[in-house]
């Protein structure tokens, strides 16, 4: 077990180093000269040279890479041309919005996807199962950008029940900054109207972000529960006269959770990518929208920064999932363990 953890950590270091080389490499294949790009179209030659000097762009590529890495360790992601601020400062402003949205989507996935999967598995081909199968097929085939737009047409334009975008209404101002999550900050400030508004603004973006993963989780948990229900230990438990409720909670739930949580960890990658689209559709001021705005200006420091911290978050979530998995399930032995 210790061997596994050490090996897993070692591999993660390799993967992270690889990621940084790859992202750095991308900034160097851009057609055009980064110094010229940084200086803008009207810059004179001396200004370009000065920038080249200032940012170390005249040094050998390997040296530049280590300079970039040293910066990353100090939390320096470079300078954004769009906002004219350090990327790290922009992150401090935009990351909480993205995290709030992603967590809201995760809550929906767990609270809706898991029960739906379990209920479907209880009576395969029953009414719940048929309905959830339809939802699953539709959910997995619905592109995020079209779903978001469709929600806006239906709930904003036709039904007029939910806002079309943003984190708060135009005339409302943000609650005092504590966590950066408007819902929690509003609650802590005791401002219930603001909390309600923040929640209303979260509904459509979080559902849009969640749907595809929700469908996947429903499908996976259904398949796993059906598998577990067929095992000998469940039959034994039933034969011993345990109530259906006891069988479901003590035997089925725990065993079905393990594969489901692994898939949930992998869905984080889908959510982090989906943020790009959802934030554009709903003008949600997070790092996805920030990255897409940077793309329009060929502003590479923010793009690479968003790529790196998203990938890092994804890798870390999956590491945690693996470790929790290991702690929960002593039966598992990994390759190399004896």
């Amino acid at each position: 077990m210790i061997y596994f953890v050490v090996k897993r950590l070692f591999l993660i270091v390799i993967v992270i180093a690889g990621m940084s080389v790859f992202t750095f490499g991308l900034t160097r294949v851009i057609p055009g000269d980064p110094a010229r790009l940084l200086a803008g179209p009207e810059a004179r030659l001396e200004q370009v040279e000065q920038l080249r000097e200032q940012y170390g762009l005249n040094k050998p590529i390997v040296e530049q890479y280590f300079g970039y890495m040293a910066g990353l360790f100090r939390g320096d992601f470079g300078q954004s041309l769009t906002t004219r601020r350090p990327v790290a400062e922009d992150f401090a402003q935009f990351v909480p919005a993205t995290v709030e949205l992603t967590l809201a989507a995760l809550i929906l996935i767990v609270l809706i996807g898991l029960p739906l999967g379990f209920l479907s598995a209880r009576r395969p081909n029953g009414i719940v199962d048929q309905a959830s199968r339809l939802l699953t097929i539709a959910g997995m085939s619905m592109p995020v950008f079209w779903l978001g737009v469709l929600f806006q047409i239906v709930f904003f334009k036709w039904l007029r029940v939910l806002p079309a975008g943003g984190r708060l209404g135009i005339i409302e101002s943000a609650p005092p900054h504590v966590t950066g999550f408007y819902t929690i900050d509003a609650l802590m400030a005791g401002n219930m109207d603001l909390l309600l508004s923040a929640l209303q603004h979260l509904v459509l973006p979080s559902f849009t972000l969640a749907l595809a993963s929700l469908a996947t989780i429903t499908r996976v948990s259904r398949a796993t529960v059906i598998g577990v229900l067929r095992t000998d230990y469940v039959r034994t438990a039933r034969a011993r006269g345990l109530s259906e409720r006891q069988v479901m909670t003590r035997h089925v739930f725990k065993n079905a959770m393990i594969p489901t949580v692994t898939v949930l960890g992998m869905q984080i990658g889908i959510l982090l990518g989906g943020n790009l689209i959802v934030e554009v559709v709903f003008s949600w001021p997070g790092i996805g929208l920030y990255a897409v705005n940077a793309i329009k200006n060929l502003d590479f420091a923010p793009i690479m920064g968003v790529m790196l911290i998203s990938a890092l978050a994804y890798v870390m979530v999956n590491l945690i999932v693996d470790l929790v998995y290991l702690a929960l399930n002593p039966r598992i032995t990994y390759a190399g363990d004896k």
């Binding site: 993967v15 294949v29 085939s141 989906g274 790009l276 793009i303």
Partner: protein
């Protein structure tokens, strides 16, 4: 006379081949596969026939007809430049399907080559190739595609290259597992003993065995390839206007969302149906080819 003698025999071989295909892919065993295949054939028909069935030129601007609601002349209305939405949507199927095929072909080419070389060689070659694959898998898929497409510059070709980079590691893993599995089989040893080159062994012995799991993987990734490419187009990194691409059409039509809802609805429904067709077909093929993974 000789022509009439050979024609029936050739016809028989084609019939034989078709029945051989039907035995290998027993499509009637899976309802999902049947529905998926039917939908896919419809989408393919539209893609092939769009020049014949589209009523208008998909990129012809007609400023007198801007933002017209659906009518007898324009069944699905017109967009902000007076272009016929139905024609653009029909033509959009060509771009999505062609791009998906190219994306998957590139991913298979890179991934399968890397995978069988890694599995067959073992040692440091295997370690290096698989760690590179791990790095690609460590990025959230759409973010990886975004970064690469942004670095290469916004165009449909670059978006296709970027998207195929997202999928190659999956093929590499599948192909490597198969190569590892049969590396020590008797017939591979035999081939080596009679002096077959490594390349020959890989192509004639390892590749055919890896075929089935690769087909399953292909059928599962076509829908995802279409979504990723359209998402890149939606954020401005894929097809550029005036190309009738569904993601781009929805991005452009978003400004007219509240009053001219038909501009975004037509391409939205089209991309939903296309992805569903490929997903159902993929699930069906998986049910047929790897029944042990079926969980229902």
């Amino acid at each position: 006379m000789s022509g009439s003698a050979t024609a029936p025999s050739r016809r028989r071989t084609i019939a034989d081949r078709l029945s051989g295909l039907a035995t290998r892919f027993p499509i009637n065993k899976s309802r999902t596969a049947r529905i998926g295949l039917a939908l896919t054939l419809i989408v393919l028909f539209v893609a092939v026939a769009s020049p014949l069935i589209a009523p208008y030129d998909p990129i012809a601007v007609d400023s007198a007809q801007r933002l017209q609601p659906p009518s007898a002349e324009h069944w699905l209305g017109t967009d902000q430049q007076g272009r016929d939405v139905l024609s653009r949507t029909l033509y959009g199927s060509r771009i999505s399907i062609l791009s998906a095929v190219v994306i998957v072909a590139l991913a298979v080419l890179i991934g399968v080559t890397a995978g069988i070389v890694a599995g067959y060689s073992g040692g440091w070659i295997d370690e290096t190739l698989m760690r590179i694959a791990d790095v690609f898998l460590a990025f959230p898929p759409l973010l990886l595609a975004m970064g690469v497409a942004a670095a290469l510059g916004p165009s449909l070709t670059n978006a296709i290259i970027a998207t195929s980079l997202v999928w190659w590691p999956w093929y590499a893993r599948v192909a490597r597992a198969e190569a590892l599995y049969i590396k020590h089989e008797g017939f591979v040893d035999a081939a080596r003993t009679v002096g077959a080159s490594h390349l020959r062994i890989l192509v004639t012995h390892v590749l055919p065995v890896a075929r089935t799991p690769i087909i399953v993987q292909i059928s599962l990734s076509l829908g995802a390839a279409i979504v990723t490419l359209a998402s890149l187009s939606f954020i401005g990194l894929g097809a550029q206007p005036p190309v009738p691409e569904w993601g781009t059409m929805i991005a452009d039509g978003r400004a007219y969302l509240l009053n001219q809802w038909w501009i975004v609805t037509a391409p939205g429904v089209a991309i939903f149906l296309t992805i569903m067709a490929f997903n159902l077909l993929g699930d069906g093929i998986q049910e047929i080819l790897s029944p042990h993974e079926r969980n229902s």
